[in-house]
Symmetry: D2
Subunit: 477 residues, 4 copies
């Protein structure tokens, strides 16, 4: 009975973001360190473990500052934010369990035969391990656990004269889903994987700054106007010569991650022409059409379940209500309640709003179910708060497969949908009914078929690490 209290929480019962990237290029030196600060601040939902910014000073030298924590904790001095430069990139990183330390913070900044290079990435290379072993065999050394280091090694092993060509060589060897922002002393480069799995878009301010951001909400935060999404397999170069674009492979498809729309992205972002809010709202409407139910109130699990709950309310005519209040004051260290207290005090982080629930037939909408444990506790909480009936609706199909393309998921075995039918799951949770959105309706919400549904269907756009390992086909160029 070592410790009743613990510092970190048990594994969060959600799919989790991996990272957010941001970049800016300014036609003349400006206080763009602050610029990236606000951009990252808007992307903070994509990662809260570490934050970092690299900036090219007016004289061409790159300097970096990285640290553990959210943007506003790491960059807490005015002097820092006032730094002037020509170009800058930034990164926020998701807090995975286990080895979290500042060595793994990004951007990664190196010096090489191509001069200084800084790189930040969101995503996962599915052949990272194989490449790393091959590179080690060739004599490379690794100081971090991040894929960016693999990319930089590949890049600097190129024989070409120009860094873009070298980058091209590196990209031809990696597989997976990724968005990269790369900065050298005189240019900013944005890259998106051949399948367009991870998002990246470009914008421009009225004073001529070009901006790259994982999501369009990052552009809004700095007053940049959205220009377009980076295309799958595209490499965009921004420099004094303007913006140029090049495909680094012809073998491209457009299969953006559907879970960005279901859960990860901010509702005010638009990605590849599709509004995140609208997808969620539509999913809520379709959820009702799919499985009608009689009830007194519809509530959403904050924050990601809210748009679907509003949609459900509209389609059904059942009033929408705030049934759950989320505590928003999370500091750097939250000590989780002891088992004993947790059982008695369900409302530390999420509190049910009794006047909305008491004696009511409640429809509760969540964006997805992963392990199921949180949902189960939620149903208990709602019943204890007086709900007469609890109808659980999930605004996505069952999650049955792990992701290896930039999302941190539990193992296949930990995904509850592999063990229980919706009916069984609803009963286990104590809900009066439980229904998922069908894959067809998700496609309808997304208004298209061309998405990665890997975690929902097991059909991935690229080979999995396991397949690659078996093929053992990794050969460095």
């Amino acid at each position: 009975m070592e410790s009743k209290y613990e510092l970190q929480d048990t594994p969060i019962d959600k799919m989790t973001h991996e990272c957010g990237v941001f970049g800016v290029w300014s036609p003349k030196p400006d206080s763009i360190f602050a610029f990236v600060y606000y951009g990252l601040y808007a992307l903070q939902h994509r990662g809260q473990e570490s934050s970092g910014i690299s900036i090219t000073l007016p004289e061409g030298r790159i300097v970096s500052k990285k640290g553990m924590g959210v943007v506003s904790d790491v960059f807490d001095e005015l002097s820092m934010v006032k730094i002037v430069g020509k170009s800058a990139i930034g990164h926020v990183r998701y807090s995975t369990f286990g080895s979290s330390n500042v060595e793994n913070a990004q951007p990664l900044e190196i010096s090489s035969k191509y001069g200084q290079i800084a790189l930040a990435h969101n995503g996962n290379l599915s052949n990272a391990r194989l490449l790393k072993e091959a590179l080690k065999d060739k004599g490379s050394i690794f100081q971090t656990n991040i894929d960016s280091e693999v990319i930089l090694h590949l890049l600097t092993r190129s024989d070409t004269r120009h860094v873009e060509n070298a980058l091209h060589d590196a990209l031809s060897q990696i597989e997976g889903g990724y968005a990269l922002v790369v900065m050298t002393g005189d240019k900013l480069i944005g890259i998106r994987d051949p399948d367009g799995i991870r998002p990246l878009c470009m914008g421009k301010t009225d004073d001529g700054k070009y901006v790259l951001s994982s999501e369009s909400c990052g552009l809004d935060a700095v007053g940049a106007e959205f220009i377009r999404d980076i295309e799958p397999g595209e490499m965009v170069r921004i420099s004094e010569k303007g913006v140029t674009s090049k495909k680094f492979t012809e073998d491209t498809k457009k299969l953006p991650c559907s879970f960005e729309y279901i859960y990860f992205a901010r509702p005010d972002s638009t990605m590849d022409g599709v509004d995140v809010y609208k997808v969620r709202h539509k999913s809520g409407q379709l959820l009702y059409d799919q499985h009608k139910v009689e009830a007194d109130v519809v509530i959403g699990v904050p924050d990601s379940g809210t748009p679907a709950a509003i949609g459900f309310s509209e389609a059904s005519g059942i009033p929408y209500g705030m049934g759950l209040i989320k505590n928003k004051y999370i500091g750097r260290t939250f000590i989780k309640p002891s088992q004993e207290l947790r059982e008695r005090a369900v409302g530390v982080k999420l509190n049910p709003l009794k006047p909305i629930l008491e004696g009511k037939r409640v429809v509760v909408i969540d964006d997805s179910i992963v392990r199921g444990t949180t949902s189960r506790r939620l149903v208990t909480m709602l019943k204890e708060a007086g709900a007469k009936e609890v109808h659980f609706r999930v605004a996505s199909p069952p999650v049955k497969w792990p992701c290896f393309l930039g999302i941190d998921t539990p193992t296949k075995n930990e995904l509850i949908a592999n063990h229980m039918s919706p009916k069984e799951l609803g009963e286990w949770m104590g809900a009066d009914s439980l229904e998922y959105l069908s894959i067809e309706n998700l496609r309808t919400s997304l208004a298209g078929e061309n998405y990665c549904f890997g975690c929902l269907t097991g059909a991935y756009p690229v080979k999995s690490p396991e397949e690659l390992e078996t093929a053992a086909s990794c050969r460095l160029v």
Copy 2:
């Protein structure tokens, strides 16, 4: 042109909380330090400047730990949270501009002829300055700027033998709106001002712990069941002899602060028998009845405008939507954008959701208007996001008077409602219409007349500090 960037924001355009208090008494020693930690965490919206906890150890000694910041920042060590005791009180303090330092953190812990005493309070003594001067004349010294110190001086100057009687003497000399939790080596005391202006309620856990909390959401966070509100002018004592109650004055009224319901309290709290959420929801409904409007969507200013927006939507049949996304990642230090960036990038803290707004006639609901500057910026933001019309609705009457009973308000002159009619204000803001909830309808929402509406009507339940100063009638007992 000193600094384009600043660490602190300009005065927040809101009425602001002053404090939250919490207390627990346990029939046997238990890890109640953690208990108060979670209780304060639930009351964090009442103050984020400083946090403090005092605990009576099993042997009867009181120790305290206070610091700047939110609860989870100040109490960041497991060893601390594991501290076992019989009784504990805690406090969170609002960040006022100007002198903020750890000396002013609460609880205030002293040693005296009555032994050790710890005291935490929410509220304001309207005769604090007069009492302080009178006490100084008698030889008292002051080491802080908080009213608690005045109360403790009055208490220890009493001639009575028992601390409760001394407390009675002290309370008979103070005026204002306040809720106090007081702890001695063997008891926990809860006190509410004679007019019941500031809230305080009591609950109990199933293992016999008694809990005091500014709001009922604090009880929920620790799994305590709500027993009742402390009555105006009541002093509740919890000790090994059980719970006893005493009125310290017969001259009581029940006039709780109406702004707790309008803005301060958490929507999941119930105070003096009235659900906060229901009041806000009802206000939204009445706002529509009062001034009908044709529109395509109703949005709320997060987070406090949301329940009224939902109510408005229900009454009007106009669909409810999430039109504004609030960034929830606020760290210890947020560097506000430079003027230039702020003008270009409106969406750093609050981003409009274009798909909801574009080409739409929008009703936007906020809980109140204080200075008006934020509201004006909001209207501009909505129009720039494509709203065809913006109808601003305020879920409370115009704020025209400052509060001196525990709320931090601007001066009368800074309150925009003293300078502009609703019509003028709407025009200045660029809104297509602007309407306030009438005072009658607020009363309807509150289902009663007996509230303090001081800031809305200028009719305060107690004498103002200015009136008291003129009367110059302060005499120590």
Copy 3:
């Protein structure tokens, strides 16, 4: 077997300082915050637990900054050190075991009927407990454990109009050994106890600043010229009207603490006309005269044993050598070695210099012996380093009595000299001989009889707390 390693060391085997005080008054506003910073830095040997500075700003308001740690740790920002003011006082506090926290840091700053007052003190009131009880009975509250708070309560309970008279009243009620610096909005006051037990001196800079300091080395650090020592029972007031002096009692003697010369003070200080270095050097010479010995080398226990070792070497003709090297890099947190490692690795903090010791007959000089444990370990260390003989010489008489006048001593029972004769002690330590300086020779070194030798003889200049408690005669004026 809980913890092999501990954060804090076992009780240091030394008499220990309590505090150092410093003050400055400037004829015109100047950056005197920095001034006090350097003054305290020179007095840092008198206390390393906490540091604090109070300053009167040009407009007359007093502000303070206090914290745990040495001066250079607490005041680590340039902005702070640049603060300009008219007058300032500072304090360093010794780290006692047990309750050490920032509440007990000085100066203590209050507001009162006399306006703002800041006070810092070195020393102990022998009737503090009695006064505190009496004050509590009268209704006073205590927020700290420091004697300064007692003095301030006495002061503000006075009926006189002027703060100096009130201070006079307070001083007439306290007993003990103390040096005080007191600051109001327009003056700086220095006070020394009626017996002159604790030191305080005054200096002046060539641009007219007046300086008060516990030791003259504090004057040197800020370039002030020594004017004179404050007299026993004297109150010196420095203001725009110049320097005035007043005796607050006629019942004065001059009995400075002899241990300041033996161990506490810095060797470059001069107190009451006597050079500290000369006293120690002379004691070393007399030690040889008193007990001649044949040896090859004389070494001192750094740092306080060094001057006596040099004197011994001169008197005896035996060469002086550096036989022990002290590690000077002590950070904020030093983790002491486990018992096992400590036995094997004697040299973590103090390392013997073998080339000096091997095969030699060694005389080792320490300033005093308190518990004896450190000395014993030292003899073992020297023998293991190869010393053929170890002759231990103590440059003071046996410490047999506790001090209650500002020095932190073990209990009488813990003082080894109460249990063993010099011969027994030497044998227990494993030394080939052990001798103390005689009290007569100490008097010779000090060139006078008028000192407090309380801890050596049991004859104190004032009543002990025990005597006072028995008399129970504490009556507040």
Copy 4:
């Protein structure tokens, strides 16, 4: 007139250490993290900027912890110090001006085809820049500015199967003065450059732990017995198979840095069979023999001038005295006095002891003179303290050449000895005479000729970086 006060001091007027290294190998898992902690603590004089420890956990995995500051600041948690392992290495780094950040802290820990490797080094590679360029051309990337990274790149580019052979290959390509400790999952390796310029020795504890340390004082601190110095060009491997030794080159000489004896090393260290204290003491004696002088007192500049002062006193019969008191309380941040205060207050860091100096003819001994500015200020200080005559004696020959073998020196032009004869220098300083130790007498003190006297004579044992750059002969194997 920007800032009167500054955080960092002007360049220290001393040659400066670069680093200290330490390693331990234990026959069975033990709390050796603490072990390295105490070892580094003893080597702290070799570097205070950053501290780091890498440890091989019982299961073979290497983990590291590094930070800015001294050992006791970086490793401030008991939990950390209790870490158990089989082998560990540590490093302290000197604070150079300019780019100091945690990226450059050591040990450097990597993963490679040889598994995990941690490396810490003291010294400088004279062909580091050339190797770095050549490695970059081959595709290597650099994440730090430290030479260790160059060595690790060379190592992992080797084609051999065993890490020792790879290390051998790497060592065959580097030039300069260095001592390395290298750790893999199952062994600890100690390496010293072919000329034995930088020191490294080995010891053993009575429970079988092997220890590597820059100086023997590190062995004393952990209770290890000195075995022997690592030989020039030697690679010592410690593992479960015992201790094996191999020369990685036959082209070796033994030319230890003479300045380690003059100034850098701790006086209680013995290096290559020569006691540091004895060298300094002898130099003091020879200084008198070389230039006799009549005087009343001999003082040393603390701490490094003290042993020579004692030697001078013995040789001359002139009494030795403590003439200068050094303030030993240096925290993390020391704010240096403004120019104005510095001129008036000479005694902030070093205070003259007037009773020793007044009216006396003083001989003052320093270990060396670099820029001369500090010495000049010292003479002024002594004269102002009343010295009638000041005879400056330097216990080393004039420093005329920069070092590129691990010591941070000013440029040739900044070395005062290149601009003034001893006579001129003495006059400029205001001394009544100034003499240096002759190079012949230094050789006598060192009892040998085989030392690196590069900074004194310009004759270096290896090619300088400039010579190497001209030859431009760097070819990777």
